[in-house]
């Protein structure tokens, strides 16, 4: 376990020793084990995320229900894609939520006009988001640094503002778009009046779940989650390939020194544009999956705070590392969905074992940080992570791993030095 986490984020070039074999799906040893690790995590997520028995006081912290598990992997995809642009090239887009939103709208229109099957809808989402990001990227990449960030922000905010107001006939505006039984859907048979259209994969509805009870534990296996998780694994695998490929190296070269790249006969612009479009397509995939899992789109998902969220996810997890963005996405979504639901009566339940006065005291102390105060906790954790773990959560994991390994072997690198080297390699 520690070995896997310690390698989790490193973009480590290997010596080209001929002895080293390529393993799983053409990945080298450590990447292959990282992929296996992530695959196991996603496969077993219903168990891992539900560690507490239902009905116990700690059940509040269980996250193993379909909606949140789906969100973890979908926003994981979004962040992985964002990281391909930001982590590798260093171009900080502040408008990536626009691609997610455009992908979502495209996906739901595909479900309205073509079929309820999720595959065409996801494909349409990816393509439309890709085209939109091509236009935005082609214009925005004329500038770099903060000028680029503001250009992308401007495009995203325009998309949001128009979707919320003037484009209401296409986007549903404030109330968003939902499926109706009377939508045309030329590839599907007509639905009976009044029935609720549901997204499916060749008849398997996204909401279908199977449940496993083990003592007082309950685990839910949701079809939609596993479809989204499969997409996430594919996206993650592709990200590893990109990181390790000549293209990925060029992107890191763009971040490192554009001047030298230019004088090495390589034009950075097509590379950054390609990275931009790829990450736009990842965002489109995430957007398409969001509507596949929950057939509704609201314009808020294009607001600048949504773009900011993916930036925060990536930095929080560790920009430029492979697994970091996924961790960051999980972290923020967990806070948003779990900590925000802790209310006063939940707290009173937790501290009920204490004497009255003490219980009241603890409830009063904790209450501002949970429920409606979840933003406060989030803000404090952002600050704590960036102050104490400069490379994000991944680096925190690496530090722990280094300490553990040193304890075990009694030797090894100084944690600081290891961290520094890691950072350098990332």
């Amino acid at each position: 376990m520690t070995d896997q986490t310690s390698n989790a984020g490193a973009v480590r070039p290997k010596p080209a020793a001929p002895a080293e074999k390529t393993g799983l799906f053409g990945l080298r040893g450590k990447d292959a084990s990282l992929l296996v690790f992530v695959a196991l995590l996603t496969l077993l997520a219903p168990f891992i995320l539900n560690p507490f028995p239902t009905g116990s006081a700690m059940a509040q912290f269980n996250a193993g229900y379909p909606d949140l598990m789906q969100r973890f992997v979908i926003f994981g995809i979004f962040a992985i894609g964002f990281n391909i642009l930001f982590g590798l090239t260093g171009y900080l887009s502040f408008g990536h939520a626009a691609f997610l939103g455009v992908g979502s709208y495209a996906g739901i229109w595909s479900m309205k006009l073509l079929t309820l099957n999720v595959i065409p809808s996801i494909v349409v989402s990816v393509i439309v988001a890709g085209l939109f990001s091509l236009i935005v990227g082609w214009i925005s990449l004329r500038r770099s640094g903060i000028y680029f960030s503001i250009l992308t922000l401007a495009f995203a905010m325009m998309s949001y503002a128009l979707a919320y107001s003037v484009l209401t006939p296409i986007t549903g505006g404030e109330t968003g778009l939902q499926l109706q039984y009377f939508d045309p859907r030329i590839l599907d048979g007509e639905l009976a009046a009044g029935t609720t259209p549901r997204a499916n994969l060749f008849g398997l509805e996204m909401g279908t779940s199977y449940e496993l009870r083990f003592g007082s534990w309950l685990f839910t296996f949701n079809a939609g989650y596993y479809i989204a998780a499969a997409c996430m694994l594919a996206a993650f695998y592709l990200a590893i390939r990109i990181f390790r490929s000549p293209f990925g190296m060029m992107l890191r070269a763009v971040k490192s020194n554009q001047q030298r790249l230019n004088y090495t006969g390589i034009s950075p612009k097509p590379y950054t544009l390609a990275a931009f479009v790829i990450s736009g397509m990842y965002a489109g995939l995430a957007g398409g999956l969001l509507v596949a899992m929950d057939t509704q789109v609201g314009a808020e998902r294009m607001f600048w705070t949504a773009s900011g969220e993916v930036v925060l996810m990536t930095i929080l997890g560790g920009a430029g590392t492979l697994i970091g963005p996924v961790l960051g996405a999980g972290f923020i979504k967990y806070m948003e969905n779990i900590v925000s639901t802790i209310n006063k009566s939940t707290l009173e339940g937790w501290f009920a074992f204490m004497p009255d006065g003490l219980a009241d005291f603890f409830v009063t102390i904790v209450y501002p940080f949970v429920g409606k105060g979840w933003h406060l906790t989030l803000g404090l954790l952002f600050m704590a992570v960036v102050i104490f773990l400069p490379g994000g959560l991944v680096q925190g994991g690496q530090k722990i791993a280094t300490v553990l390994r040193r304890d075990r072997k009694g030797s090894g690198l100084e944690p600081g030095a290891a961290a520094k080297r890691k950072q350098a390699e990332d």
């Binding site: 900080l92 500038r143 903060i146 503001i150 250009l151 905010m157 919320y164 930036v311 406060l376």
Partner: protein, 343 residues
């Protein structure tokens, strides 16, 4: 014609707020090279200085009035401000009425202090860190500040009126040769504009004519050289951060009578002020001010019904559209310096 003059006034007024916030943001960018996402929160804190001040001077003790009842039928408890006890009701009322302008006296030291604490305690550890880390930490700070205010003051806007003397509007009509009542403009908005002009002029004069300002300007241009000259630029940068915080805070204080302050007003302004700074050009103080007024005026014109009839929805996107056009035609904004935040 009257309509156009009015919209120019509106634009100048909106622009004043943009310019003041952008000015502070640019000072921090330029001097410290820090992307400060908490700058909007400083604006908000300034506004809440005014709220706090007016609450402080209205602090009261309760007197039970047996003759009247409250909504549940119990005897009514009447709040009597302490200030009535100290100065009598008439003087007390005047003080309460003038709470917003008076709160400037409180806001300046408080905001400078907040700025200095922020710089010393947090920001200075991030000078050498990547911009991404700066964004994360200042954004986290902004959320924390915002939530603390929400905890104490709630999420609802808090009305903070201007002194009665400044209610009502000034009639420009006759002065400019139009009909009386043709161009009337609220006193407080005119004051806000003048106030912004004074602050902006003050900051520029300070940087232009004092030794301190000269060193800071030199530091903005080339930090290393100034450090080599043996000048303790760090200390000056701390003070600069305090000043930037105070500028943002004063913009907030004076803004409260225009729009009732609420805890997320900083976030509402944050994105816009970044756009203003970048359109003005990174690291350029005149650019920030110019862009603030320019965008304010353009926004005002875009919201005219006549314009909306031709281009529906243009008011939704005009600021961003202008930003895109400016950045594509002028690579570093209106007056940006080369090499600042371009990587």
């Amino acid at each position: 014609m009257e309509a156009i003059i009015l919209q120019i006034l509106n634009g100048l007024d909106k622009g004043s707020a943009y310019a003041l916030i952008a000015l502070g943001l640019t000072l921090i960018f330029g001097t410290l090279g820090v992307v400060n996402f908490a700058h909007g929160a400083l604006f908000m804190l300034g506004a809440f200085c005014a709220v706090t001040f007016s609450r402080l001077i209205q602090m009261s003790h309760t007197v039970v009035d047996e003759t009247r009842t409250d909504f549940l039928g119990n005897p009514l408890q009447v709040d009597v401000p302490y200030i009535y006890d100290f100065f009598g009701q008439a003087a007390g009322d005047v003080l309460i009425d003038w709470a917003v302008p008076l709160s400037i006296l409180m806001a300046i030291p408080v905001m400078i202090l907040i700025g200095v604490i922020m710089e010393r305690g947090l920001i200075r550890h991030f000078y050498k860190r990547p911009h991404a880390d700066q964004i994360l930490v200042t954004f986290g700070l902004a959320i924390v500040l915002q939530e603390v205010i929400k905890y104490f003051y709630g999420a609802n806007p808090i009305p903070t009126p201007a002194p009665d003397a400044f209610l009502g509007s000034f009639d420009f009509g006759l002065m400019l040769g139009f009909d009386a009542g043709g161009i009337v403009y609220p006193y407080w908005r005119l004051i806000y504009f003048l106030f912004a002009a004074v602050i902006i002029a003050g900051v520029f004069a300070f940087l232009q004519f004092t030794t301190f300002g000269m060193v800071v300007r030199a530091g903005m241009a080339d930090r290393e050289t100034v450090t080599l000259l043996g000048i303790d630029i760090d200390k000056r940068f701390t003070i600069m951060f305090g000043i930037a915080a105070a500028v943002a805070g004063l913009a907030g204080v004076m803004y409260t009578p225009i729009n009732s302050p609420n805890y997320h007003m900083g976030m509402d302004f944050l994105v816009l002020s970044f756009v203003v700074v970048v359109v003005g050009g990174m690291g350029s103080l005149p650019g920030a001010v110019l862009a603030g007024f320019l965008l304010g005026i353009i926004e005002a014109f875009a919201s005219m019904a006549e314009v909306l009839a031709i281009l529906p929805g243009i008011n939704q996107i005009i600021i961003y559209l202008v930003a895109i056009v400016v950045l594509l035609t002028r690579p570093r904004g209106l007056m940006g310096r080369k090499g600042v935040m371009e990587e």
